[in-house]
């Protein structure tokens, strides 16, 4: 193998080693933290109190608790709904539609829409949370502008429809990423291919479904991979808007993890939750990575 390498590299192995050092350090750090979280998950370690000093190994007890006590499975289900609707259905589809519709246009409208989408992406999570809380409250913008003028009773959206509100807020917040990625992907499709399909009599729908989508399939998989992982572990917007409530209606796994680890100070159990999340996200990533491969 050494023989096949670039001769310049083989003659400068020391330099190569030094150059790789930052990357190796980073990988080491990542492994170090993962290993700690993994080790914690087998202990009853607490943040404060006696068990923060006199902790002990408890075997698989924490993992057993994930499935025998209320909380984890409910949060997992909430997370699945949140990821499916806000990331997969919402951000991806909306991002793609916007990218497809605005493709090749150079109008003021496109600039305006792009700026609007990017604003959502650029706003800090906490600011976005305040905005959406204010907008969806009983005296908020939606009630004042739409519901009340139409003659209906004002609706307390953030209380009565907490999960849909959080999902919509997250779609609003995150669509820019999908839009940018799909715009770049669509731009990479050569005009000739699409023109040829048009000449062959393909309808606009067929051109998108049979020509463009298969070409950008790897981009779709990459996008799905990123936004699934982000959304699965996403915390700030949800916590700031609803704190996981009312009740536990918007308690996703990230909020559940926070409550267990820092409100209850139960670091051992919290680590078990994070290990479970790691496994789930890992499995999902494998599925997407498989999608990335070219079909035989």
């Amino acid at each position: 193998m050494k023989n096949q390498a670039n001769p310049w590299l083989t003659n400068n192995l020391v330099l190569l080693g030094v150059g790789m050092l930052p990357a190796l350090l980073l990988i080491g750090l990542l492994l170090y933290f993962t290993a700690w979280a993994f080790a914690f998950s087998f202990t009853d370690l607490a943040l404060v109190g006696r068990k923060s000093v006199e902790w002990s190994w408890v075997g698989f007890e924490n993992f057993q608790r994930l499935f025998t006590r209320r909380g984890f499975l409910e949060s997992l289900w909430t997370t699945v709904i949140f990821v499916f609707f806000s990331a997969i259905v919402g951000q991806s589809v909306l991002g793609f539609l916007l990218a497809a519709l605005l493709r090749g246009r150079n109008s003021t409208l496109k600039t305006v829409i792009e700026v609007c989408i990017m604003l959502g992406w650029l706003l800090p999570d906490i600011v976005a949370a305040f905005l959406w809380s204010a907008t969806t409250a009983q005296t908020g913008l939606i009630n004042a502008l739409i519901v009340v003028p139409l003659g209906f009773e004002p609706v307390n959206f953030i209380n009565d429809y907490a999960l849909p509100v959080v999902i919509i807020a997250n779609i609003w917040k995150g669509t820019a990423w999908s839009y940018l990625l799909f715009s770049a992907a669509l731009d990479s499709i050569s005009r000739e291919v699409v023109e040829a399909a048009k000449v062959d009599g393909a309808t606009p729908f067929q051109r998108v479904w049979l020509v463009m989508l298969p070409i950008i399939r790897p981009h779709i998989a990459t996008n799905m991979l990123f936004i699934t992982i982000w959304t699965f572990t996403y915390f700030p917007l949800i916590f700031a808007m609803t704190g996981g409530g009312p009740g536990t209606q918007t308690t996703t796994l990230a909020v559940f993890l926070y409550n267990q680890s820092f409100s209850r100070g139960n670091l051992g159990f919290g680590s078990a939750i994070s290990v479970a999340m790691l496994v789930i996200v890992g499995l999902l990533s494998l599925v997407y990575l498989r999608m990335l491969r070219e079909p035989k």
């Binding site: 943040l47 006590r69 809380s133 009740g247 409550n259």
Partner: protein, 440 residues
């Protein structure tokens, strides 16, 4: 060590990432923003006297408890720390705080601290922090809405039924948050203290600690009791059966601010809260307060009544309060303690106590003519005659979080039975079967 290494490195990285590494200074202090009017003049006095700069880290009130616990356990907390009194024993048992008895004995103003109030800040026979104030809890009510609902004032409910009845009348009169009682995990300790514990203490007869979270004689946590069931049922009636208020204030981006905004907008009927609200309803730092007459025209308060069950107490109360202590790892413990005593120096401390209508923790303040002449404090202090404290033993923080979770479960539509079972099982998980008891 095991965990501290990780937490320390994680926090160090987070700090570097946020470029929030505090500048090097002789003494550092962390405090919640609402305590600024006590801490900041103290810091200024300290800087003037010693010529040293104090590194002051002002933090938002939301999530404050978690931040302090995390920073202390990671070893990145400041030298002087403000904390809720319920956390003192927990943090002290982890070895994060410095015992103050010796240093305090040499301070001439220490003798004035009331012994019983120092107990909440003690662990294992040592005092670990000095209290800023104490408090009592009650039901506040918004007078214009009571007038609108046709409820006679002064309002003096005798049982929970009376309270629910008034709340129903308020709801019928169109008051959105007819009865706002803190619920859920985002309200944190407020749910436990202003809501659950106040109800629980009057839910059942007091024998044998049947109406508490802990049997203080045996040291066992109470996993199930008629009192707990009645308390959760009260939550069920308020938020589910009678829908006396939507739950959203409890989960708002900033619950404290949301509640006060609702009051300012005239949307609140009854509010379960505490003695600090006399100033806090307008501004927790005591600035821009309306006059006594204007406040009295808008809000009134009444003691929390008992449930009305035979043998239950007529009114209930529980007291907490905040404290300031010294980090066990303080670089210069003497300077840190000096900062504490400068903040608590009578000139600074007394002015703050009076301006904010806080309940004094020191006799040199509580016996002063100005304090005794304050009609609000005189009336509120009378409630303190029959108060009790939290179960300030290690483990309380966890139990408190479990209680908050139980109210959250109720909001989710869980029955009282289900919520109690989850609570009981979680106690067993945390403390073991022999540390949990059930009252029939």
């Amino acid at each position: 060590m095991f965990r501290r290494n990780l937490l320390a490195s994680a926090t160090a990285i987070a700090l570097m990432a946020g470029a929030a590494m505090p500048a090097k200074a002789e003494v550092s202090i962390m405090y919640a923003e609402w305590l600024a009017s006590l801490v900041e003049p103290g810091i200024a006095a300290y800087e003037k006297e010693t010529g040293e700069k104090v590194n002051a880290i002002k933090l938002p009130g939301a999530g404050y408890d978690q931040r302090i616990a995390l920073d202390l356990s990671a070893g990145t907390a400041s030298d002087v720390v403000q904390m809720d009194s319920f956390m003192v024993s927990e943090l002290a048992s982890s070895g994060y705080l410095m015992p103050l008895d010796e240093k305090a004995a040499a301070w001439d103003q220490y003798q004035y601290y009331m012994k019983g109030l120092l107990e909440v800040a003690s662990y294992d026979g040592h005092v670990y922090a000095l209290p800023t104030d104490t408090d009592v809890r009650m039901l506040w009510y918004y007078k214009p809405n009571f007038e609108k609902a046709g409820i006679a004032m002064p309002w003096e409910p005798k049982t929970w039924a009376d309270v629910l009845d008034a709340a129903q009348k308020l709801k019928d009169a169109g008051v959105e948050y007819a009865f706002q009682i803190p619920a859920g995990t985002k309200q944190g300790e407020a749910t436990t203290m202003q809501g659950v514990y106040m109800a629980l203490l009057g839910a059942d007869k007091p024998d044998d600690d049947r109406n508490r979270l802990l049997n203080r004689k045996t040291g066992q946590w109470i996993g199930d009791s008629p009192g707990l069931r009645r308390t959760l049922d009260l939550y069920h009636q308020i938020y589910i059966d009678k829908q006396l208020a939507p739950a959203d204030l409890n989960y708002a981006t900033d619950p404290g601010a949301a509640v006060r905004q609702a009051l300012a907008d005239g949307k609140l009927g009854i509010l379960a809260s505490g003695s600090w609200e006399d100033a806090c309803l307008w501004d927790c730092n005591g600035v821009n307060l309306p006059s006594r007459e204007e406040r009295d025209k808008l809000v009134g308060w009444t003691p929390w009544p008992g449930s009305g069950e035979p043998g239950a107490k007529a009114t209930t109360n529980i007291s907490g309060g905040w404290t300031i202590g010294v980090n066990a790892k303080a670089a210069d413990p003497d300077a840190a303690f000096k900062l504490v005593t400068t903040i608590f120096d009578v000139a600074n401390f007394k002015a703050w106590t009076l301006a904010n209508h806080r309940m004094a923790v020191r006799t040199d303040i509580s016996e002063s003519p100005e304090y005794m002449a304050d009609p609000y404090l005189a009336k509120a202090t009378a409630l303190a005659a029959d108060t009790t404290g939290r179960d300030t033993v290690p483990g309380y923080q966890t139990v408190s979080a479990l209680v908050q979770q139980a109210t959250s479960d109720i909001l989710d539509g869980a029955s009282v039975d289900e919520a109690i079972k989850t609570y009981h099982d979680a106690l067993v998980d945390e403390f073991g079967e022999d540390k949990v008891i059930t009252y029939q």
